[in-house]
Point group: C2
Chain length 195, copies 2
């Protein structure tokens, strides 16, 4: 059982490749030269008649000046999703720490959260994992106060207005060492899943 509908989840990059190629105003032979993949092969891939290996798929992507991961990611769609100020889900937290999650993201590509830390408090309470999925990255922006970021053993002091980018799949947390309340925005992008 387990994976029942995997054939349904089949790859259909064909139309995408064709659209991108035509957007770049390239013929099949042009792209063939740029990518090192034969024109007939490109034609078959575009029409979905064959499933290319990662090798050639990667070269096709390179010919389109993309990374393969970027090419494949295009086949995930979305729309406009608005969350009103009053509708925020409370994310929880611990003593002196609260945060909420404005956008419940369709297509899950990034998530925005705002954390408020009382003096001496730190992130990492329930509902707030100490590290995220492999490959994810976090951007944080200090709105007010001073916080200390702990990433994989190292510490970094951040003042109001400072921002930081780091790999979120490393263990990390924020701490407020000051005497005033601190607030920060965090964007976690590009995660994946475990069982």
């Amino acid at each position: 059982m387990a994976t029942l509908d995997q054939m349904e989840v089949a790859i259909h990059v064909g139309p995408r490749v064709r659209a991108l190629r035509e957007a770049m105003d390239l013929s099949l032979r042009d792209l063939a030269e740029r990518s090192g993949v034969s024109a007939p092969m490109l034609s078959q891939v575009e029409r979905g008649e064959t499933s290319p290996t990662l090798q050639v798929a990667s070269r096709i992507a390179a010919g389109l000046e993309l990374r393969l991961s970027q090419l494949l990611r295009l086949d995930e769609q979305g729309v406009v999703s608005i969350v009103r100020a009053g509708e925020r889900r409370r994310g929880g937290g611990t003593a002196g720490h609260s945060f909420d999650l404005p956008p419940p993201l369709p297509g899950q590509r990034a998530e925005l959260s705002r954390h408020v830390l009382a003096p001496g408090a730190q992130t990492g309470g329930k509902g707030d994992p100490p590290m995220h999925e492999p490959g994810s990255r976090e951007i944080a922006l200090v709105e007010s106060g001073t916080v200390v970021l702990h990433v994989d053993g190292a510490t970094h002091e951040l003042n109001e207005g400072d921002s930081v980018v780091f790999d979120a799949d490393l263990p990390h947390h924020f701490e407020n060492p000051g005497r005033d309340e601190a607030a920060l925005l965090a964007v976690v992008s590009a995660g994946l899943r475990r069982s």
Copy 2:
């Protein structure tokens, strides 16, 4: 010519697959059942002895509870990068509109920007493209004031504290219809490149 080193850019997901599989405490046969790909095939892929088709690569990713794009994206690394409040690059803008770009992103996965709109002003000046690369997505959070988001013809009014997610590869801009200054944070994630 054009693509000289495409063999260098070859895919080496093998070790990654093995690491993920072992992290999930699965044997080759376990993953074989979950993914629908034979155990010997998995072994060959993990050791880099063969390049799977997108079909089976996709099923392998599914067996690891990932999208293929996510699996492939793992082979891009990064570190911690801090930008101090005073070091912000000014992004430019037009009359009544200014924005700056806190983090110059290594590995370019998402970009954070803060826009300040005077009454009647709108985004879209020089240095601020009206739309982003295919596949990118934008999260915006209104910090103060009221703004109107125009996406692909439609308009959406956003008040202080509201947030929105939309596909940034559609033409869009923000406008400040109010009598007070408005500020908003925008996160653009996951873009790609053109020639």
